[in-house]
């Protein structure tokens, strides 16, 4: 890894460490203290997305048949299983860890390197985990909402998680050796696949929103909370009648 990357990484870790010391958001509560700055980065990201990522995603979805898209998606999903296995072990969930192990084994051997998802046919389904999920499991709040340049919506916990994921992902370690000391190809490939997968969703959000930034933020925080078992009870107690004037029931 080059000197620039190491320096950037150190800066990110220091900045986020300080940021995480302050007040933090939990479950469905939105904590976005740098909204003005985030909105600017969001706008910048949108420009990059419109001019580069989106055209690529459009070409891909138009030329690649759905069957092919599903194979690519399966391949990238399978490649993340070892990382998920490591996180289940850290979380102290042996059942899920073993299911993830067998899922990876079956799909890699019988699914031709993960192109086909045979494991689901044996009901070997288990959601994938990242280091951010592991931190959530140990009751760490998501910190604050941030927009990372190029990458997009995130939180301080997610940024920490991503950094740890890069170093603990067995797949990225394999690629480091293969590509002679760089994970760029692997990173670009997974990012491209993620962008393609969410192309229609992003279009829908953009076309139907009044305030794209806040809608994206709400969707992001809700999806984070939805994955966090500690937030499950909070979802049930959202008071839908709160603030509804002139109760009519």
């Amino acid at each position: 890894m080059s000197m620039i990357c190491r320096t950037l990484l150190t800066v990110v870790i220091i900045v986020t460490s300080f940021a995480a010391l302050g007040e933090s958001g939990k479950c469905y509560k939105i904590y976005d203290p740098y909204e003005t700055f985030n909105r600017r980065v969001f706008k910048l990201n949108r420009g990059i997305d419109r001019s580069l990522a989106r055209p690529f995603a459009k070409i891909y979805s138009n030329f690649m048949p759905t069957w092919g898209q599903q194979r690519v998606s399966s391949f990238f999903y399978n490649i993340k299983e070892p990382l998920s296995f490591v996180n289940y072990v850290i979380q102290g969930k042996p059942v899920e860890a073993s299911r993830t192990f067998w899922r990876f084994f079956v799909n890699t051997i019988f699914g031709i390197g993960g192109l086909f998802d045979f494991a689901s046919k044996f009901e070997l389904n288990v959601p994938q985990q990242t280091f951010s999920d592991t931190m959530a499991r140990y009751n760490m709040n998501y910190g604050m909402y941030i927009i990372v340049p190029i990458i997009g919506p995130s939180t301080t916990r997610e940024v920490y998680g991503k950094v740890v994921d890069v170093f603990t992902d067995p797949a990225s370690m394999v690629y480091v050796n293969q590509f002679d000391g760089t994970t760029t190809e692997y990173g670009v490939a997974t990012a491209a696949e993620t962008r393609i997968k969410h192309d229609e969703l992003l279009d829908d959000i953009y076309n139907t929103s009044i305030d794209w930034y806040s809608k994206t933020r709400s969707l992001y925080i809700q999806s984070l909370a939805g994955k966090d078992p500690a937030c499950a009870k909070e979802e049930e107690i959202i008071n839908y009648d709160e603030n509804v004037e002139e109760e009519k029931f």
Binding site: E200, Y213, S214, K215, S218, A225, E236, I238, Y240, F249
Partner: protein, 208 residues
């Protein structure tokens, strides 16, 4: 005297037990009937929407009008609109409230219709379970299997029984609530630019 009291206490206890034994089956029967009612309601709404989208003879405009009708009849749009506005609803003048109601329906339609347009004839759904949240509301869990997505999508409909029958209040797709998102979006938009500009933005949304 003590003997009399004991006898009386025993009688009360016996009557209470008898009441529990008699009414428990009725209560569970009532609860079962309510759950069945909620299930039938969601099943009917889903069927109506699918039939509308499947109809190849209808134009997009006709389909949109039909979906609008389904929304108006089966969703408590008025309540949803108020809830989406949150505390800001109280700040609206009566004129703004009048202006807001149809704009909200259009916004709702703009959000739902593009998703429904992606419906494929091979897609299927299955109602999984009914969950009572509190005295008023139910969650109906529906599993949607689509051609595009390898994994089924779980949708939770929040349903409430009101005077005019069952009404849908919210749709939670893979843990993401439509109403919570709207609340966050509307409150931020109003905070950023005020009610008038917010209404103007709602109005500028495409109607087709």
């Amino acid at each position: 005297m003590m003997k009399m009291l004991k006898k009386k206490n025993f009688r009360i206890l016996f009557m209470m037990m008898a009441a529990v034994l008699i009414f428990t089956p009725f209560i569970s029967l009532l609860s079962f009937a309510q759950e069945e009612g909620v299930k039938t309601f969601i099943d009917q709404v889903a069927r109506k929407l699918i039939d509308t989208m499947k109809d190849s003879s209808s134009s997009t405009k006709t389909k949109r009008d039909k979906v609008k009708e389904i929304l108006e009849n089966n969703f408590d749009v008025e309540w949803m609109g108020r809830s989406a506005m949150g505390v800001n609803y109280r700040k609206l003048t009566s004129e703004q409230k009048e202006q807001y109601a149809p704009l909200y329906l259009n916004y709702l339609l703009n959000n739902y219709f593009p998703i429904l347009m992606k419906y494929d004839n091979d897609d299927s759904y299955e109602i999984l379970k009914i969950q009572q949240i509190d005295q008023k509301d139910y969650y109906v869990n529906l599993k949607l299997t689509t051609k595009k997505s390898e994994n089924p999508i779980v949708i939770k409909y929040r349903v409430r029984y009101i005077k005019s029958g069952y009404k849908c209040l919210d749709m939670v797709v893979e843990g993401i609530s439509t109403l919570t998102s709207q609340r966050a979006e509307f409150s931020s938009a109003i905070h950023q630019s005020g009610v008038d500009l917010f209404l103007k933005k709602l109005k500028s949304q495409k109607t087709e």
